[in-house]
């Protein structure tokens, strides 16, 4: 059982008032709120141990280095990686994708193919476009069905010997669809296609095991996992990371520097140039502890219950038009109301204390395919409740009446 009161009390931000209303935070797909366990860790770091890591001989540097590396170990266990060398700390999902899309250029040539899907976040489109431009590789795009699922037949058709990389999101930040990663990976394994998974929307909402999924790369951001902004993770299989050239040069990532030639540090330092976000990485470790204490299987169950409750309510509204109707969904609901603009709804909900996202949610091609100028998105986290959803629908109908 989830100790709900305890969870809520870890998030003082939930007591914030917006326009005299209690805040209802339904924008968890954009960023999750940060529990006191995590903010305390950041304060503690700066009050008691701030120092640079991996280089000092002094006390502060030693404990910071230890905590930093402890976080790496936690991440490794959290996602079921085999080795700590496979965990690279980055600035976030976007940074992780850019790292691979840049370093991997060494292995791509004219005529090779990179495969993504129509439901990708701009962060999983643009870096690959840049990569394709640089290398002469072609970017191929798998279709999404009208329910908002990956068209698996199309995926199978597009895969071939030339497909060097397949990069797909684990869960769509707009549609909420949970993609069948193991199935996709099996198809890719028929060829020598490397599989990269954007786990930004999955990591805080269901148990992820990169070894069981058999993916080559997996990445996520701490700030969507109840951790701080500015920190993320790139997981890569050791044998592949070994072969990849460094992404950025600087301190930390070197073994020996002369003006003639530099040799690079071992994994994962090879990919961690410069002073990292030390407090953020340590806080990410705390966020993982926080989540594991609640238990991800229970979190999935709880959020699924919220989504079901939401769907029961939305199904009764005849002017409600859902975007993304897969049966295999995470707790994300994008929609429009007939004949009103998503922005008008967003403004009115905001005045009633409800935080939702309006617009294209960084998936412009997906919206364009379905002829949508934008949608409203409600996305849930562990602190949301059924009664918040009830309040949301009351406000939604009030807003609709005002506008229509």
């Amino acid at each position: 059982m989830i100790d709900f009161e305890k969870i809520r009390s870890s998030f003082p931000i939930l007591d914030v008032k917006v326009n005299d209303n209690k805040l209802v935070y339904f924008d968890n797909a954009a960023t999750t709120q940060t529990p006191t366990q995590v903010t305390n860790s950041i304060r503690n770091y700066f009050n008691k141990q701030n120092s640079n890591i991996h280089r000092g001989v002094h006390h502060l540097s030693n404990i910071s280095t230890e905590d930093f590396e402890q976080s790496r170990k936690k991440v490794k266990e959290f996602i079921g990686a085999e080795k700590e060398e496979e965990i690279v700390f980055t600035r976030g999902t976007t940074d992780s994708i850019n790292l691979v899309a840049t370093s991997y250029q060494k292995f791509l040539k004219n005529g090779d193919e990179i495969l993504i899907s129509e439901m990708e976040h701009h962060s999983n489109i643009v870096p690959w476009q840049l990569c394709a431009e640089k290398t002469g590789a072609k970017l191929k795009v798998v279709s999404v069905t009208k329910e908002g699922e990956i068209d698996m037949d199309h995926l199978e058709k597009l895969l071939n010997e030339k497909t060097k990389i397949l990069s797909i999101t684990h869960i769509s930040n707009t549609l909420g669809t949970i993609n069948p990663i193991s199935e996709i990976t099996k198809l890719a394994r028929k060829y020598d296609t490397k599989v990269f998974i954007d786990g930004a929307q999955a990591i805080a909402h269901q148990k992820v095991n990169v070894t069981e999924l058999d993916v080559d790369f997996y990445c996520f951001s701490a700030h969507k996992l109840y951790g701080p902004t500015g920190v993320g993770v790139l997981y890569g299989k050791e044998e592949i990371l070994e072969k990849l050239p460094p992404y950025q040069g600087g301190g930390e990532m070197i073994e020996l520097v002369t003006f003639e030639k530099t040799t690079y540090a071992k994994l994962p330092s090879k990919f961690e140039a410069g002073t990292p976000n030390i407090s953020g990485v340590i806080a990410l470790g705390k966020a993982i502890e926080f989540i594991e204490e609640i238990n991800l299987d229970l979190i999935f169950e709880y959020e699924d219950m919220l989504l079901n409750h939401y769907n029961e309510k939305s199904n009764k509204i005849e002017y409600y038009e859902p975007f993304g109707t897969s049966l295999n969904k995470s707790a994300i609901a994008s929609f429009n109301l007939k004949k009103v603009h998503h922005y008008d709804i967003g403004v009115l909900l905001d005045n009633m204390g409800i935080a939702v996202r309006t617009g294209h949610h960084c998936t412009q091609p997906l919206h364009k395919k379905f002829n949508l100028a934008g949608t409203i998105r409600a996305s849930f986290g562990i602190y949301n409740t059924k009664s918040e959803i009830d309040y949301f629908f009351d406000c939604l109908s009030k807003a609709y009446k005002m506008l229509y």
Binding site: Y343, G346, V347, N351, G359, M402, L403
Partner: protein
């Protein structure tokens, strides 16, 4: 007092009758639903205002010594705000438009209900209105 200032004061007075945000928004929505004088042939990218969350198209015409503004948005609330701007700026001389101070937006308490991105959109609209006025002034010599 210039006519631009006078109209602004009238708007502020009218909106001050409302006691809560819902009434204010209902008023704006009402304005947004009104028929407007907008020729749809101007719904082209070159007339789009940047920085708005909803789409806004704006064009201007000159009638003798006065400038008229015509704008459209796909969002009703935005259309309501546009209607207020047009009330203030349309049928004024280029000089009065260029030199006007816009304090009614602060005074009607709308700004606090607009997020930074939305306030930016509003600022872009006003900037574009002034740019049109400057253009007409130069053309007139």
């Amino acid at each position: 007092m210039t006519s631009v200032e006078k109209i602004q004061n009238e708007i502020v007075e009218e909106l001050s009758l409302f006691t809560d945000w819902i009434e204010k928004y209902e008023y704006l929505i009402g304005l947004g639903k009104d028929e407007i004088d907008f020729d749809k042939k101007f719904m082209k990218d070159e007339f789009l205002i940047n920085g708005c969350q909803s789409k806004v198209w704006l064009y201007a015409k000159q009638n003798n010594s006065k400038v008229t503004f015509h704008a459209y948005s796909d969002a009703i609330m935005t259309k309501g705000i546009i209607a207020l701007l047009i009330k203030v700026f349309s049928n004024q001389s280029p000089d009065d438009i260029i030199n006007s101070k816009l304090d009614f937006i602060d005074k009607i308490g709308l700004k606090s209900h607009l997020s930074a991105t939305r306030a930016n959109g509003l600022m872009s609209m006003i900037k574009q209105i002034k740019i049109y006025a400057i253009g007409f002034k130069e053309k007139n010599g």
